[in-house]
């Protein structure tokens, strides 16, 4: 094996940052905290770069074994890291984008309370995310998997004074746990069938399997893995946590809930491609789940007014594309989209953060408008993200999305058509957000804002107002009435990351990721069918054009449409009432059933009722106890000894009888 590259340093550096900031950060200056946080992640990025440089073409995975973590009987799992071509991409994305977002966050969070706590959590997230991508076995991957879920929980609930933030964090953790349930069962089955959890061993054996003997089992494993992936990557039916996760600070939404953590499910599916390749039914399921998620999330994104919510549904939708890619066998196209999406979606969120800060923590796009002259850098960079996500050639999103859709075109036409329709909706909702925010006249500030606490909509508690706590903190710092607030561009520490991400969004499509990944994930090269390409060109023209008509040319049109198709609008505006349905069908029965049937019925009623049936005995002994208590300690000791003596004597007698 090649010489050790000290891969452990990659996650260890952010861990060190976490340890420093979480223990002494409270007492240190903000400069110190930011320095530690940024330095640890940038150092990790540099170590990644150095390592990849040393490893070169990575024809073979580079594996490093550190120590045996858990071993029992035949079960043995090591703390092992490995780098192959797939890992290399993920490492660069995670540490690269991670560094940029850390830098941005020092500007964004500058006036927030809990500064050290924020950066400690963020570094901890980097640690777990890097474990996730470096893991050389399923169990270690699961460590990172659960760990990033924890950090997501902590960061969503960062503004924990507000109930909705705590609720959203808890929801994210629990929904992810449902996914992890599937993941862990898949692990158990993998170990039972392959006798190991090491990627090398498992995938090596999987490649040589006889399909007719193992199809059922492999399908079960893959479907369970999909459950796990659906939890982490917010796919139907487990996507519900991600929109609520926007309650966290915006850099968190960018890093965790757009660029890195939520793509872990896609990564895991691609990592397990040699299993999925043996399970056609599971592949179909992945493709269908991905397509359905892409489509429905996009429809929900059409009618959101909160800028972060639009991008949240967009993220869910784009993740659906990645699953579609994996499901039709174009794994490398899926990973390609992970990368380009990381660029443009991180940019969209960070840009949105810049807008939100400029507008003093207003997130409702109805109170934006005409901002392009006031915050030109933000506007310019967001335009780069816009053209990228809308799929305009030759920008990054075009390359990866088309790679996926063209593969789908070859594989299953219906999926392609739904995907194309989704692409049109994508272009529409992003354009809508851009037009509402930057074009027209400034419509703000929100007269009902009440320092960010009121609701625009009756039902909107903790929903459209994902930043109550945020506004609250901010207003302490600014102290002012509304209406006189100046809208100004964000500081350089925030705009420079925006510019870098903008360049990546524009040019990221030229990184030839599918070819680099071909030895690991197989080819995903699809014919450029002229019809399909023409359709894809039509989608973004249609989407952007429609948005232009509705939000620039005749701004009254959306309201008219909304009232004409009132039922449909209500349905998508309320996200198909999925949360409400879950509440009524799952959460309510569990809590009420546990309370009234299990606890008060079975536990207190049935079991304890039977026990207390011996109540007379209890009372009798209780009476005896009260007398005992009146005595002194010697009598207790006497009782102890007397009891023991009594038994011994009884035994002697018994023994004698024998």
């Amino acid at each position: 094996m090649a010489e050790s590259q000290q891969l452990w340093l990659i996650p260890a550096l952010p861990l060190l940052g976490f340890l420093i900031n979480s223990t002494v950060g409270r007492k240190m200056s903000k400069q110190f905290v930011s320095f530690i946080a940024i330095a640890s992640v940038v150092a990790s990025f540099l170590w990644v770069a150095k390592t990849l440089n040393a490893l070169g073409a990575l024809e073979q995975p580079h594996v490093e074994h550190y120590f045996t973590w858990i071993a029992s009987g035949t079960f043995s799992v090591g703390f092992d890291f490995s780098i192959d071509r797939l890992t290399s991409i993920m490492l660069l994305v995670v540490t690269g984008i991670g560094s940029l977002i850390h830098i941005y966050a020092t500007g964004y969070m500058a006036h927030e309370g809990g500064y050290y706590r924020f950066f400690a959590y963020l570094n901890l997230f980097m640690f777990f995310m890097l474990i996730l991508v470096l893991a050389a076995n399923f169990l270690l991957l699961f460590v990172g998997w659960e760990g990033v879920g924890l950090c997501s929980y902590l960061l969503i609930g960062f503004y924990f004074l507000e109930k909705f933030a705590g609720d959203a964090g808890k929801k994210a953790f629990i929904v992810n746990r449902v996914g992890d349930f599937g993941f862990s069962l898949a692990m158990f089955l993998v170990f039972i069938n392959f006798g190991s959890l090491d990627f090398g061993t498992v995938f090596g054996k999987a490649a040589t399997l006889q399909p007719e003997h193992s199809a059922g089992m492999i399908t079960a494993i893959c479907l369970l893995l999909l459950v796990g992936a659906a939890g982490k990557s917010a796919q139907i039916p487990l996507y519900v946590w991600l929109p609520d996760a926007m309650a966290g600070p915006t850099p968190v939404s960018a890093l965790i809930h757009a660029a890195t953590m939520v793509t872990a499910g896609v990564y895991m599916v691609c990592r397990s491609s040699s299993l999925f390749n043996n399970a056609p039914i599971a592949m179909e399921t992945v493709a269908i789940v991905g397509t359905a998620t892409a489509f429905f999330a996009a429809t929900m994104g059409l009618a959101q007014n909160d800028i972060k919510k639009v991008f949240a549904y967009s993220t869910v939708s784009q993740l659906g594309y990645m699953f579609l890619g994996a499901g039709v066998g174009a794994y490398s196209a899926g990973i390609f989209h992970v990368v380009t999406h990381a660029f443009f979606k991180a940019l969209l969120f960070l840009g949105a953060g810049s807008v939100i800060m400029a507008c003093h923590h207003e997130q409702d796009m109805r109170w934006y408008g005409g901002l392009r002259k006031k915050i030109p850098v933000t506007f310019g960079t967001l335009c780069c993200a816009w053209v990228a996500i809308a799929g305009i050639p030759p920008f990054s999103g075009y390359h990866s999305k088309d790679a996926i859709l063209l593969a789908a075109y070859e594989h299953a036409r219906p999926l392609f058509w739904i995907g194309a329709l989704t692409a049109a909706m994508t272009a529409f909702y992003v354009s809508r957000a851009m037009f509402l925010t930057f074009f027209g006249e400034y419509r703000g500030p929100n007269p009902h804002a009440d320092h960010g606490h009121g609701g625009h909509d009756d039902h909107a508690h903790g929903d459209d107002h994902a930043a109550h706590g945020h506004a609250d903190h901010a207003h302490k710092d600014h102290g002012h009435g509304h209406g006189h607030q100046e809208i100004k561009e964000s500081p350089a520490v925030m705009t420079i990351p925006l510019v870098i991400l903008a360049l990546l969004s524009l040019g990221g499509g030229f990184f030839n990721i599918p070819d680099w990944l071909e030895p690991v994930l197989g080819s995903s090269h699809a014919e450029h069918d002229p019809t399909a390409v023409a359709v894809l060109y039509a989608t973004f023209i249609l989407g952007i054009g429609l948005a232009y008509v509705m939000y620039v040319l005749s701004p009254g049109l959306p309201d008219k449409l909304a009232s004409t198709f009132k039922g449909l609008h209500t349905l998508i505006y309320n996200k198909y009432f999925v949360d409400e349905v879950y509440d009524v069908t799952i959460i309510h029965p569990i809590t009420e059933g546990s309370r009234y049937f299990l606890w008060k019925g079975v536990d207190a009623g049935l079991i304890d009722g039977a026990v207390n049936g011996a109540g007379s005995v209890s009372r009798w002994i209780g009476g005896g106890l009260r007398q005992l208590q009146g005595g002194n300690i010697r009598s207790y000791a006497t009782w102890v000894v007397a009891g023991a003596v009594f038994v011994v004597v009884a035994m002697s007698v018994w023994g004698g009888v024998r």
Binding site: S72, G73, T74, F188, L598, I607, I633, A637, G643
Partner: protein
């Protein structure tokens, strides 16, 4: 040296009765610390040969009947003894301000409890074992009954009666074994069984097994014999809850591994499907009931029912992984639930309430307490790199190897644990504080004494989660021996249908195979 560790607490108990009341806690702290340090000396020799008993003392205690003072320590009991000596000083620390009256008796009983519990873990003579089992019961009875909350008498009596019912059954079974074998010496009985000198017919073995099993199941506690536990915990003083959850419940699970499996392997296998069924019901049921508890201590108590269901599931899966996981989980539960009860006790000392609705938003006032509580919560919900994950993983993986549906249902408990713990955490620490609550928590973050009590537990959670092999290796060796014993003594009638449970016919066949692989692959 084991004799020293065992009998020092008895000496300590007597001495504690002699020191002045106001000095009692200092005495108890120093005494239990010294004992802990001494007990660390037990580790080395046991690690050298964890499959056999070290520090054996075997002498006549009573000649007629033939009762021996026979003690020893192996990989199975080692960590449980250390856990006991480790937790006692911490239990003293959390009692420091909490206990305001009859301090001398209180600390004396705490030390006497240590005596009983260590005795249970080291006895190798069934009668001696029984005596210690009862000795452990008495101080706990008083700890709850004298220093408990309002309904302490009810809870103490319930605790006592429940356990006594089981103990009496076990005593009868022990005596029956004595009448058959002529000895109480556990190792001799096992030898007799291995050599065929002592044979139990299935008609004998089943009731004997059940008598032992019920005694242990009550102590664990296994659903549906658990209802004494929430009452006992709610009423007990903090240290009482800590010791009860961390070490006394382990007397039950330890008994299952030490006695039930090797003595009655056939009966154990025969009943395993039923017991596993109860364990899984307990896992899910305990979690669901925990979810809706309005009282913090009750919530943690029901979570114990759920967590210990994993232990029982592991024990009755009859394979190396599951059994290792089960024994490891005993320790994990001792650490993390012990810590939870300590923290809840600290909350109580500030707010004087255990009702969750009396809290809310206290994270801003007591950030350190909130952080420690969070880490403990995460350990409890089985987050990787913390202790519980390792045990639960091994139990679930081992159970899955016998029957995947066991793992499916048991893993539901893992989802639910996140639900009830995070909801608890949110309601207690997040949100905005009411004036009433804020008043109680102002300038009330962790005291140095409280830090000293919880820090060792936090360190253990991380240590046992990141580097479990130091603990797990001796456990594995001892478990392997136990599994071999269950195989040596077993007379398999794999083909014969078992009348008890239809599913039992299929399951034992798999279990035999599993056990065999476990044995061959042992280190």
């Amino acid at each position: 040296m084991l004799d020293l560790v065992l009998f020092l607490p008895l000496v300590g108990f007597l001495l504690a009765l002699l020191v002045p009341a106001e000095k009692a806690k200092y005495f108890a702290l120093i005494f239990s610390l010294v004992l802990f340090v001494i007990s660390l000396g037990l580790i080395g020799p046991v690690l050298a040969n964890p499959g056999e008993y070290s520090f054996v003392t075997n002498t006549q205690w009573i000649s007629t009947p033939n009762i021996r003072y026979h003690i020893g320590l192996d990989g199975l009991s080692l960590w449980l003894v250390i856990l006991t000596t480790f937790l006692t000083p911490l239990a003293v620390l959390v009692s420091w301000k909490y206990i305001g009256h009859r301090m001398k008796e209180y600390y004396a009983f705490l030390i006497l409890l240590e005596f009983g519990v260590i005795g249970v873990f080291v006895s190798l003579d069934l009668f001696l074992y029984y005596v210690f089992w009862e000795v452990g019961l008495v101080p706990m009875y008083f700890l709850i009954g004298i220093w408990g909350h309002d309904r302490r008498i009810y809870a103490a009596v319930k605790f006592f009666l429940y356990t006594m019912v089981g103990s009496v059954l076990m005593l009868v079974a022990i005596i029956y074994l004595y009448l058959k074998s002529g000895t109480f010496d556990y190792t001799v009985i096992l030898q007799q069984m291995a050599s065929g000198q002592l044979k139990l017919t299935p008609e004998e073995a089943l009731p004997l097994f059940l008598a032992f099993f019920v005694a242990f199941a009550i102590k664990v506690p296994l659903f549906p014999l658990h209802t004494w536990l929430p009452d006992a915990h709610v009423e007990a003083p903090t240290a009482g809850s800590v010791m009860l959850a961390s070490v006394m419940l382990k007397m039950g699970t330890y008994g299952l591994v030490r006695y039930c499996l090797p003595l009655f392997p056939n009966a154990a296998r025969q009943c395993a499907p039923w017991i596993v069924g109860l364990a899984i019901i307990g896992i899910v049921y305990g979690a669901l009931v925990a979810l809706v508890q309005p009282n913090m201590k009750k919530l943690v108590a029901y979570s114990s029912v759920s967590h210990l269901g994993f232990v029982v599931l592991g024990v009755f899966s009859f394979n190396q992984l599951a059994l290792d996981g089960a024994v490891y989980q005993m320790l994990n539960h001792g650490v993390s639930t012990g810590a939870l009860f300590m923290l809840v006790g600290m909350m109580y000392e500030r707010r004087h309430s255990l009702e969750i609705s009396d809290y809310g938003g206290v994270a801003t006032q007591v950030p350190h307490l909130a952080t420690v509580f969070l880490i403990t919560t995460l350990a409890s919900v089985g987050l990787p790199l913390l202790n519980n994950f390792v045990g639960e993983l091994l139990v679930l993986q081992g159970a899955a190897m016998v029957n995947i549906s066991w793992a499916v249902f048991a893993a539901l408990g893992v989802i639910l644990s996140a639900c009830y713990m995070l909801w608890l955490y949110q309601r207690v620490f997040f949100g905005r504080t009411s004036h009433e609550t804020a008043h109680h928590f102002e300038h009330a973050d962790l005291q140095p004494r409280e830090w000293i009590a919880v820090l060792p537990l936090l360190a253990l959670m991380v240590w046992m989660g990141v580097a479990p092999m130091g603990f797990l290796t001796p456990i594995s060796v001892a478990d392997n021996k136990t599994l071999q014993q269950t195989k040596l003594n077993v007379e398999f009638k794999v083909a014969a249908p078992t009348p008890v449970a239809p599913s039992a016919t299929a399951a034992p066949a798999v279990q035999v195979a599993q056990t065999a692989t476990g044995v061959t692959n042992a280190r």
